[in-house]
Symmetry: C2
Subunit: 202 residues, 2 copies
């Protein structure tokens, strides 16, 4: 600890420095900023953290965040024709930003990964099966990442629900919008070529 510092301040900086994307220098800058803005930022932030800690919990059914002890939106029986399966909350928010889909989401909480020891029972796959069975779901959209883990997870889910008489789709693979062919990787080009669409049908 620095000689001319305060132990509580040191603890605060130590904790801030643990947050993703931050280090000791930005933690120090943030801590001093907080001390300068005691009443309009530091106090509300402490309250907000406390509130989220007390109130926000993960729903055991759909994986989204919900208010503790209150039923999650996913138990609302309307709008259950489609379920879009994503890896995490950030992915859901990214999809929401496109406004292309407004139905139910199902947040797995990660991907299958033998290396990191993440098995099917660590993800919300069982509850996905239950949700499909319990509701009149017509389509399951597998919106996992185009990584090996993402695709393995999608494949596993497809396998788990193959007997449920539900349409299963996955996101299209191909050129990203704005992508220049010269700079794309082989895998993307291969997919774009393989899944090319006919212009005659337009």
């Amino acid at each position: 600890m620095k000689k001319n510092s305060h132990p509580d301040l040191e603890t605060l900086m130590f904790l801030i420095a643990k947050l993703p994307g931050l280090g000791p220098k930005s933690a120090r800058r943030i801590a001093l900023y907080l001390l300068k803005n005691r009443d309009n930022i530091m106090n509300p932030l402490s309250g907000a953290l406390d509130k989220v800690y007390q109130n926000v919990a993960r729903c055991n059914i759909c994986g989204n965040f919900k208010t503790n002890k209150i039923e999650c939106n996913c138990s609302n029986k309307n709008n259950y024709e489609q379920i879009c399966v994503v890896e995490n909350v950030a992915d859901m928010w990214a999809l929401e930003g496109t406004n292309v889909y407004s139905g139910q989401y199902h947040i797995l909480g990660g991907t299958l990964s033998a290396i990191n020891g993440i098995n099917p029972e660590d993800l919300l796959i069982g509850s996905l099966v239950s949700r499909i069975k319990a509701n009149s779901v017509k389509e399951v959209i597998l919106a996992t990442s185009a990584t090996i883990e993402g695709q393995t997870t999608a494949h596993y889910i497809k396998d788990s629900i193959k007997n449920l008489n539900v349409k299963v789709t996955k996101l299209a693979h191909g050129l990203p919008v704005g992508g220049e062919i010269e700079y794309l990787d082989d895998g993307t080009l291969f997919s774009a070529f393989k899944y090319r669409s006919s212009l005659n049908s337009d």
Copy 2:
């Protein structure tokens, strides 16, 4: 607000995004990280913020942070031969890191600035004069930045204490260690030339 989000979580992200160096995307990343690490980061961070808010205050005499309602280190009568005057706490910590000085510090809380309306009475200059008078201070080291505001402030302080029979020094100006002459600005080169030191005296 996003449809599939939680109001408390939105508030938390809004507040995190206000911190220096962070924006909405990093705030989202940090909030999700906090939710993943509820008990080992989120809860302690909330507690640390609260503790700092309750306990840490600025000393009206030396300007450093001190524990609320407890006397600051600066009222300790030992080690009062030198006072090093800095603009802010970060500057003090930077100087401490060099281990070149271990005496008393005096934190002004900024620099004089006509444009930003910061006048002498907004800085802890009066209490610096009192500290010099009340203790057997032999040297006042003006360690303000080499900016116009920093140097104006140093000049003002020098003027305020000129009758106190105390040695006043300021940090040396010149080449930064590791600085290549070719890339240095005119002001630095001018200072380095003007304050050149004799090698004969070594």
